[in-house]
């Protein structure tokens, strides 16, 4: 049962190694309830589809893995789709060529494949940091995409189905189900995997390993000089993050029963995964997961509304970078834009007028500055 712990005048509850304030614990509980309630909610509403939310959770889960690298070792990987895609394609290949039918075995295969892939790509990339690292991960991701696209054994641009066995459906606990039921059951499987995965990630972020990763991310040289074999740790983190991607990809294949290169390996997908982490808030644990659901949902809505949904995504990204750099979850935490503003409002309701005035002034100033820069560049006049 949860035990109470008092630290610095704040009451926290500790359960299975997870420590949270009352507020956080309530939010957590609500979140878990919401996750389990999704199939019922989507049945009632037309605009919310189980498939869309499910997909969002899967990509968000991959983003949670990516976040280990991003938040702690401060490495931006632009090739995470490589692991998602490896997991997805491994599942397809095992279903088609190895005749594996059980969901459990297929997922294990996905994990194994993603681990190997992450170990390989990691080994080649981890001597580098920053932009070079991002560049390399993007390049390797595209290489995998090109391979999947080009190999007829992998289905080429048409992709591959996952329809093993006489029932054309992977076996859950040894049985097949009606498609609608299958979707719901695989959803609950995903929820279970996500909860376990989040718990594991949480424990990792409370562990000494995380201290080492933070050290490497904040001051790499110093990390070496306190005795950390930096590359080995980065490699380990890379592999762990890849496993999350692979699991997500494997589940994706099992759920959708079809994989294509575009949706799983293309670098725009890698960008999406990174984007999810930032949209949700990369300084938080669950942020990337929420970012995943929100992004996939927005893209789904966007695609219905206009054919220019990439443009919309781009604009959202701009708003994010300039207005809400801490992402959805991050902005509500202390120090984030939303929580700061709310705090201000509570203290001084009239602050709204001040904000409006300063916003107008800043926009004016920026416009003038930019125009003069443009003028100088184009005409050389000072």
């Amino acid at each position: 049962m949860p035990e109470r712990v008092e630290t610095d005048g704040e009451t926290r509850y500790r359960f299975l190694g997870v420590e949270a304030t009352r507020r956080e614990a309530v939010a957590l509980a609500l979140g878990v309830v919401a996750l389990f309630a999704v199939p019922d909610v989507t049945r009632l509403s037309d605009s919310l589809q189980l498939g869309v939310i499910h997909q969002g959770l899967l990509f968000g889960f991959a983003a949670v893995g990516l976040n280990l690298l991003l938040r702690h070792t401060k490495l931006t990987s632009f090739g995470h789709a490589a692991f998602f895609g490896t997991g997805a394609y491994a599942t397809a290949v095992l279903a088609k060529y190895a005749g594996l039918q059980s969901v459990g075995l297929l997922l294990l295969g996905a994990i194994a494949a993603a681990t190997v892939m992450a170990a390989l790509i990691g080994a080649l990339s981890l001597r580098h940091t920053g932009l070079y690292f991002a560049l390399l991960t993007l390049a390797f991701g595209q290489l995998l995409y090109a391979i999947a696209l080009g190999q007829s054994a992998l289905g080429g641009s048409d992709g591959m189905p996952i329809r093993p066995g006489p029932a054309n459906q992977p076996l859950l606990l040894g049985t097949t189900f009606e498609p609608a039921v299958y979707q719901i059951l695989t959803y609950y499987l995903t929820v279970a995997v996500i909860l376990v995965g989040l718990f594991v990630m949480y424990r990792i972020t409370q562990s000494p390993f995380r201290n080492a990763l933070d050290a490497i991310g904040q001051e790499r040289t110093r990390a070496r000089f306190i005795g950390l074999p930096v590359r080995r740790y980065v490699w380990a983190a890379f592999v762990i993050s890849g496993v999350y991607g692979g699991v997500a990809g494997g589940l994706y294949a099992v759920v959708r029963q079809y994989v294509r290169p575009e949706g799983t390996l293309f670098f725009l997908r890698s960008g999406d995964i990174l984007f999810m982490a930032i949209l949700g808030g990369f300084r938080t644990l669950v942020g990337p997961l929420i970012g995943g659901v929100v992004l996939i949902f927005l893209q789904d809505v966007g695609q219905d509304v206009t054919q220019y949904y990439e443009f919309l995504t781009g604009v959202v990204l701009l708003v994010l970078v300039y207005g809400f750099p801490r992402g959805i979850v991050g902005s509500f935490r202390s120090g984030g834009v939303v929580s700061e503003r709310l705090g201000q409002l509570r203290r001084e309701p009239s602050a709204v007028a001040d904000w409006a005035r300063s916003a107008v002034r800043t926009t004016e100033r920026k416009a003038v500055e930019s125009l003069s820069s443009l003028r100088i560049i184009l005409f050389g006049v000072d």
């Binding site: 401060k74 932009l131 070079y132 080009g150 990369f282 990439e310 604009v315 970078v321 930019s370 820069s373």
Partner: protein, 313 residues
Amino acid sequence: MAGTLETALVQTLNGVQFGFILFMIASGLTVILGILDVLNLAHGELFSIGAYAGIGVFGFVIGVVGPPSGVLGGVVFVLAVLVSVLLTAALLLPVGTAFEALFLRAIYDRDQVYQLVLTFALLLILLDVKKFVWGNTSLRTDAVYSAINSIPTSELVGLNYPTYNVFVILVGVAVVAGLFWFFDRTKTGRIVRATAIDREMATAIGVSTDRVFTLVFALGAFLAGFAGAMAVPPTAATLGMGTNPLVLSFVVIVIGGLGSLRGAFVGALLVGVIRSWMITLYPPGEIAAPFAIMALILLVKPEGLFGTWGETA
């Protein structure tokens, strides 16, 4: 015997031509990376906008000049094409300038991840801008390709090689020479290099790093647009044409070395030629070969063939 020799020569020339185009794209990317510390993910889109816009400009200029006839007509036509390409590239100047001055500059001192997100956002926006302006189907401009090919060049030495490709190679050589001259001999070029090597020092001697950055980014955009206009006549402009050159440019930069112009040149030609040979000898190798070389360099000489001008991290 002569047949295979001729094929080998043609393939190599094709590779060289592709290499020059690739150099134009990669050089902008590597210079922006070396000096601004920015990985411009939208660079491939700038290239493809050059291609799309180039078609329009070509159409207009060809309409004015008319097809080449005789020696003088031929010279005039070639000049007209060159002018079109330059005009197209110039169109990309305000795009690059605006993006750097209005968007990038604000986030230089922030976490590096935001810069990647920003150029990625530009990529997405440009994708749909292209869709909006030019639509979903691919565009062609056969007129330029066939017109230039009608001018005899390689035929004069008994080789049946498209004159347009010769044209690209010659222009490519001029661009390479021009870039090296700019960075080695001109004052502005040397100031730019100095800023790459030591930003603080450069500021101390009175250089406006702001202006240098904007200039470099605009130059990169110019080169990308130039490459797009040069590359489009033999093929077509498609919405997705920017991705492959972007990724290949990455490979070139890794092979040649971050920020190194010389490296980009060697890397681009290497990738271009090897890719070309693969297409004839072993088609699946076309994609894999550049990456294989990249992986080899990463293992054996991680800083690239030529390292960097400035300091390595």
